[in-house]
Symmetry: C2
Subunit: 182 residues, 2 copies
Amino acid sequence: MALEHAILVSLAERSASGYDLARRFDASIGHFWKASHQQIYKVLGRMESDKLVESNLVAQSGRPDKKVYEITADGRAELTSWLATPTPPEGLRSEFAVKLRALHLGDRANLVEQVRVRRAQHAAQLASYEASAAKYYPDPSALCEDEVGPFLVLRGGLRTEAGALEWCDEILMTLSTSSRDG
Amino acid sequence: MALEHAILVSLAERSASGYDLARRFDASIGHFWKASHQQIYKVLGRMESDKLVESNLVAQSGRPDKKVYEITADGRAELTSWLATPTPPEGLRSEFAVKLRALHLGDRANLVEQVRVRRAQHAAQLASYEASAAKYYPDPSALCEDEVGPFLVLRGGLRTEAGALEWCDEILMTLSTSSRDG
DNA sequence: AGGAGCATGTAACTAGTTACATGATTGT
DNA sequence: ACAATCATGTAACTAGTTACATGCTCCT
């Protein structure tokens, strides 16, 4: 299960509570692996009984107590072995592509509008990635050992969004130059 | 549920048995929406009790009987309404990105090898899409009404694979020019 | 005799989503 | 008073995967 391993990666970098992990998944890791807090708590519970992580209850003033999880030796071993195993290429799952394929079955003007909205969403995401890149990696030729991976992942996100944006433009071009109904 | 709608799209184009659908999902639609035959049979069963599709048993000579499903009026209505509803952008789920992010925690040479393998897989997929494009859409400026959608989807697949390939090259470049261990 | 293709499914399980539930503190 | 943030979870459900099960025909 991939969420389990994503959590191990996150905890190997720094120990955290379930809540912290949920926020991390909303930010950096979450760009390519979403997880809800419910799912995270569930998986953390199982991982603890599997001895991949262990927790310490930390009392806080003015805030609820929290359970801070850290990775165990077993967890590190599992992570190392997972990292060494090739990942089969994940098939895309695009509901949007299914809709686009069914273009002739629906309302064309409506779909064009949907594509415009998507285009704007991809443009916003691209801008946000570009801002991150400029902020955290102003000089990509001088990266620390532990920055290379995250940097390359960000580059992948950037490329994906730029590609999606161009695809939207191609769709809009094609649908505006070919015969229009509506 | 998206599989349900992908099946409706497929059946709106042509009636089919569960087995036929499974093969279609292996081919065209399956490039962006995978489904196993077990899952398809299960969903078809529910869709039939929901009156979105109906089946006719067809006897065949020299082959097992088959249940041919066709879309109902209710099914078409459901499809139309789904097509008109905007799809929220699907978050990527990339196990590979999680691994890449954890570069500093694992064996670098091993990861480089994994990237090389992925690069070859993306190159093969790209070549296969290019062959499909040349075969089915030799003249993209002269497409029928019902070819535009599938053509644009294929273009999306092409762009995705080309982008993934370039990303692999960027990763390999970065990891070979920066300091190497191993 | 063995394998590939046609054809349909069930059973057990894992993963993930949605809705609900609680309760303190800090800011408007 | 009301909402937001911190913090943890349960319950019910939907979606998808893996393994198993059957049986016929055609090709080698």
